[in-house]
């Protein structure tokens, strides 16, 4: 994995990333997703790319964009070059890389499925090729009974023996059980984190798998970011987008991140087929998801059976079907 940054990635980080390199309070707010989206669109219309904002004529380009963004704020954001170098160095010493949508290694799936909603930058540790391999997404809550932990670990193991990647959220409970099951069985795992990438990258239990290139930890949020409910929600979207099919192991009814994320998939996004656990007590949450169109999980018991489910889901085409019209904002130029 290379840790060098392209000029476009530098510019995108300067514009959108909090660049948390210490305890200093940022004096200027990075562009929110919507703000950056508008700026990026205007740049594209002018046949420009973010890297051009690092060149001497940046101010003219910005005013040519006619976005309703304070030009002083943009100048301040773009002037954070030294901070950027500090932040990148901090990530690099922890073996954390960063990719922007302008980079060739940025997971294509995210751009194809999420279009403009794909995060402008992705931080990660481990093999950056894993997020491109699809596989089974497993989601569920933090607080679950031991029996469900067992069940989830078994699902992870099955994905591993089928040679398929497992995508999950890295949170306590279901997420980690799924990842643990897959990793222990020698499988490949993508953990999509809502916070704390920096700490997770240094955890000893992850080290072996990271170094054997079987685990990647990625996050659209600054590696030093702390937990925020909104982040966890956004993160769920990425878990689905990176998979071929998803299994919801359990869920509250009408509340919580698991519920909201799954409902969003079933209703609005339709990126991948959503399944809910069929074995054992399913409870009100999973029942509710079934009523909203989720399929019962066929509970495959052999690797072949799981492969069949995932292949069928992949053939069905990603739910991105309905969103193919969206172009990614920037393809790498050089």
């Amino acid at each position: 994995m290379t840790f060098e940054l392209s000029s476009n990635t530098q510019a995108i980080l300067l514009l959108t990333a909090p660049l948390m390199a210490g305890r200093g309070k940022p004096s200027v707010k990075p562009l929110a997703a919507g703000e950056y989206r508008r700026l990026a669109r205007r740049l594209r219309e002018q046949q420009r790319q973010p890297a051009d904002l690092l060149e001497p004529g940046a101010r003219e380009i910005v005013s040519g964009c006619r976005v309703e963004l304070d030009s002083e704020r943009l100048a301040q954001l773009l002037g954070r070059g030294f901070l950027l170098a500090q932040a990148v160095e901090r990530w690099r010493t922890r073996a954390i890389w960063v990719l922007s949508r302008a980079d060739a290694d940025y997971p294509r799936r995210l751009k194809q499925r999420l279009g403009e909603d794909a995060p402008p930058v992705l931080y990660g540790c481990g093999d950056a090729a894993i997020p491109g391999t699809g596989g089974l997404a497993v989601v569920g809550s933090r607080n679950v009974h031991e029996a469900l932990i067992q069940y989830t670990e078994d699902v992870g193991r099955l994905a591993a023996s089928a040679g398929r990647s497992l995508v999950s959220g890295g949170a306590r409970g279901v997420d980690r059980a799924a990842m643990r099951g897959a990793l222990d069985a020698g499988g490949r795992v993508a953990g999509v984190l809502a916070d704390g990438l920096e700490k997770a990258a240094m955890l000893r239990e992850h080290r072996e798998a990271l170094m054997e290139r079987r685990l990647v930890l990625i996050s659209p949020y600054d590696p030093a970011a702390r937990f925020q409910v909104g982040h966890a929600m956004q993160r769920n979207k990425l878990i689905y987008a990176l998979s071929d099919a998803a299994l919801v192991v359990n869920s509250d009814y009408g509340k919580g991140g698991t519920w909201a994320g799954a409902v969003e998939q079933l209703g609005k996004l339709k990126l991948v087929p959503i399944h809910v656990r069929a074995n054992g007590e399913v409870g009100k949450g999973l029942q509710g998801l079934l009523e909203r169109g989720a399929k019962p999980w066929p509970e495959p018991e052999t690797p072949e059976a799981l492969e069949e489910i995932l292949d069928a889901a992949a053939d069905e085409g990603p739910g991105a079907l309905g969103r193919q019209g969206l172009r990614p904002l920037f393809e790498q130029r050089d």
Binding site: G24, L53, G79, F82, R90, T93, M211
Partner: protein, 690 residues
């Protein structure tokens, strides 16, 4: 940002305190380049050209236009006092952070938060310090408008001085976006260094490079193998040299010793080393004011020291490279028509530079020990933890940690106070680079020896070695200095080198965790401690050191001269209460070496000798234990009192070599516990580390 030439000139005049002065060639162009953000700039100009005016004036102009503060990274901040004084005359508020002093950090942080600093000056090591970065630098990082990298040649592997933290600076320079102003400065950069800098700082790097010739210098090399010869030469020649100057030595010990010798000859000199501490500024001032004939200095007296009328630079030993030599000798005669640059070459210099070369990188074994220890500790280890687990000195551990953590990606990282393994292996590139640099250092050493052998054409040789323009440099009209040494002085120098009596400070506390076999911990009560002892010499030094080494490793017996020297030392020392009997540290490896010597010494002093201590267990030699904790544990339970009752009264405790002092400490504790009087340690030689 537009450049205001009138304001720039005004600032120059305020800074120099000269109302009619103008810019040197290239200075104004460089300032304009920086202020207008025309791209990255590299300035290669000799010391004294005025590089600091470029960045200070640029900083002031940027600040006046509302930009954020500048950040300057230099390994030589402690030597920039004159430049900083000039900056302050221009109204620049500079914050300089050179030490680990946390109080300063808080002040600095507060100043930065209130935007009251125009330029922050830090060392590369500070930049590598996680706490400094997160607590101080983070306050200002997003507003830095100009980054100045001093001594930029260190970015290159081909740079003559290796400073590990420049790897970090290199990465930061590579990561900086094109819109951040970057100025790199150095006094010397050969073609290979320039190539590396262009690669790191980018293809659009603008270079401003001055000439190298120094017509006022009379260069000469004199080979005087023995230290006594060089001491005698210095004592004879120094009074006759013009003006005031610097004598460079390779080691701190030599700087102190040469200064002591010259002072004993009533020559006004002072030693100046990295261990001089806070006194350094005052010593520099003594030389600036011509109140000493010379400072005897290590390279701690470095590039930033600017005394334009320095009359001479003498080297007591040849440094490791021609570039280092050129920079040091180039301090002489900047504003004079003539000055001496004399290199005395001695037999020990290659050993010393070899030692520096060998110590620059950790060995594979050292890295393995550290990584294994961290691997066995998932929650990480602090440096004190590591000292108890790996057999490496604290200096080697810290060097190993620093170099590994500067790799990218790094195999280890510090979380709080503890080091942890990261999800990255140490790349093979680390070792390739270590080997490449080690080869390069040996090549430089060889080139330096070539210079030592020169009969003529010294300046041309140096300029050619630096890829400068080998224009015909005519040396000034100065007679070469004599190369002979006066025999009487030589004899006195030999005697001086053999003068003796180095203190051995008693240990007052058991090591962290105590000694389980002896069942002791905490502080050592004064009734169980050794008294302050003495050592005859330092292992391998130019006085008695050679004879001690020969006795131990060649003859198996210490010479009678050493017995007489120790007796003389005792007569001079006269510890009270005076020892009434003599004993010694036992050894299974060389059972008779030390007892034989101690017995002869006892006879010479007319005291009884008793073999009161015995070794009850074989242990590894203390010198194979690399740090104090390991050494203390290695002694624990290995000694016993074999004679009871002990003779009463104070005792002289003899050993050949003292390293960590743990053997002496445990022996004294045993003797005192079993009823002896005060224990006075006496050793033939002190060895290296603590």
């Amino acid at each position: 940002m537009t450049y205001d030439p009138r304001r720039a000139l005004e600032l120059l005049r305020e800074g120099t305190r000269r109302r009619d002065t103008g810019f040197r060639e290239g200075q104004e162009e460089a300032i304009r380049h920086v202020v207008e953000a025309r791209g990255r700039l590299l300035v290669v100009q000799r010391t004294g050209w005025g590089k600091s005016f470029v960045y200070f004036i640029a900083t002031r102009l940027l600040r006046e236009a509302g930009a954020g503060p500048a950040l300057l990274i230099s390994p030589l901040l402690s030597l920039m006092r004159n430049q900083i004084a000039a900056a302050e005359r221009m109204g620049i508020r500079a914050i300089r952070i050179t030490s680990d002093n946390q109080d300063r950090w808080q002040d600095a942080e507060a100043c930065l938060r209130r935007d009251e600093a125009d330029i922050l000056l830090i060392s590369p090591e500070r930049l590598g310090n996680d706490r400094f970065r997160t607590e101080v630098l983070a306050e200002v990082a997003e507003r830095i408008s100009l980054l100045v990298i001093d001594e930029a040649h260190c970015i290159s592997d081909w740079g003559h001085d290796f400073r590990p933290h420049y790897r970090l600076i290199e990465r930061i320079a590579r990561t900086l976006p094109a819109n951040l102003r970057l100025l790199a400065t150095t006094a010397t950069a050969n073609d290979r260094v320039m190539g590396d800098l262009a690669a790191v700082l980018g293809p659009n790097l603008e270079v401003l490079r001055g000439g190298l010739g120094r017509p006022s210098l009379m260069l000469q090399t004199i080979r005087l193998p023995r230290q006594s010869q060089r001491l005698a030469w210095l004592a004879e020649q120094l009074p006759a040299l013009p003006g005031h100057g610097i004598i460079y030595t390779l080691t701190v010990r030599d700087a102190v010793q040469v200064a002591e010798w010259l002072r004993s000859r009533e020559l006004p000199v002072e030693s100046y080393t990295g261990q001089t501490g806070d006194g350094r500024e005052a010593l520099e001032q003594l030389l600036l004011d011509n109140r000493v004939k010379a400072l005897v200095a290590t390279t701690a007296l470095g590039m930033g020291f600017d005394k334009p009328d320095l009359g001479f630079v003498i080297h007591y030993q040849a440094p490791g490279s021609v570039v280092a030599y050129y920079q040091q000798v180039g301090r002489a005669g900047r504003a004079l028509d003539r000055a001496y640059g004399v290199l005395l070459s001695g037999e020990e210099e290659t050993d010393i530079t070899d030692y520096f070369i060998a110590g620059a990188f950790p060995t594979r074994g050292e890295v393995r020990q550290v990584i294994d220890a961290l691997d066995a500790a998932p929650d990480g280890l602090s440096i004190p933890n590591l000292l108890g687990r790996v057999n490496l000195s604290s200096g080697r551990i810290e060097k190993t940690m620093a170099l590994l953590s500067l790799e990218s990606p790094a195999p280890i990282a510090k979380q709080g106070t503890k080091w942890q393994l990261t999800a990255a292996d140490l790349s093979s590139g680390f070792w390739e680079r270590a080997e490449r640099l080690t080869d390069l250092r040996h090549e430089e050493q060889r080139q330096m020896q070539e210079y030592v052998m020169l009969e003529s054409g010294h300046m041309e040789f140096l300029i050619r070695a630096l890829d400068g323009d080998p224009e015909t440099v005519r040396p000034p009209n100065l007679p070469p200095l004599p190369t002979e040494v006066e025999p009487g002085l030589l004899q006195e120098a030999v005697t001086f080198l053999r003068r003796t009596g180095l203190p051995i400070k008693p240990r007052e506390r058991w090591p962290a965790g105590g000694l389980p076999r002896c069942d002791v911990r905490g502080s050592i009560s004064s009734e169980h401690r050794a008294e302050a002892g003495k050592a005859l010499c330092i292992w391998g030094d130019a006085g008695w050191g050679g004879l001690v080494r020969r006795g131990k490793y060649r003859d198996g017996r210490f010479a009678d001269d050493l017995v007489r020297a120790c007796a003389a030392l005792m007569a001079q020392w006269t510890p009270r209460p005076a020892p009434e009997w003599v004993t010694c540290i036992p050894s299974r490896r060389r059972p008779s070496l030390v007892p034989d010597f101690a017995e002869r010494l006892a006879t010479e002093m007319g005291l009884p000798f008793h073999r009161s201590l015995s070794k009850v267990e074989d242990r590894a030699e203390q010198k194979s234990m690399a740090n104090s904790v390991q050494q203390a544990r290695n002694v624990d339970g290995s000694l016993a009192v074999s004679q009871e009752p002990l003779p009463g009264g104070p005792v002289l405790l003899v050993d050949d070599m003292v390293d960590s002092r743990w053997t002496l400490t445990v022996a004294a504790w045993l003797l005192r516990s079993k009823g002896s009087g005060a224990v006075w340690p006496l050793a033939l030689a002190l060895t290296g580390h603590d």
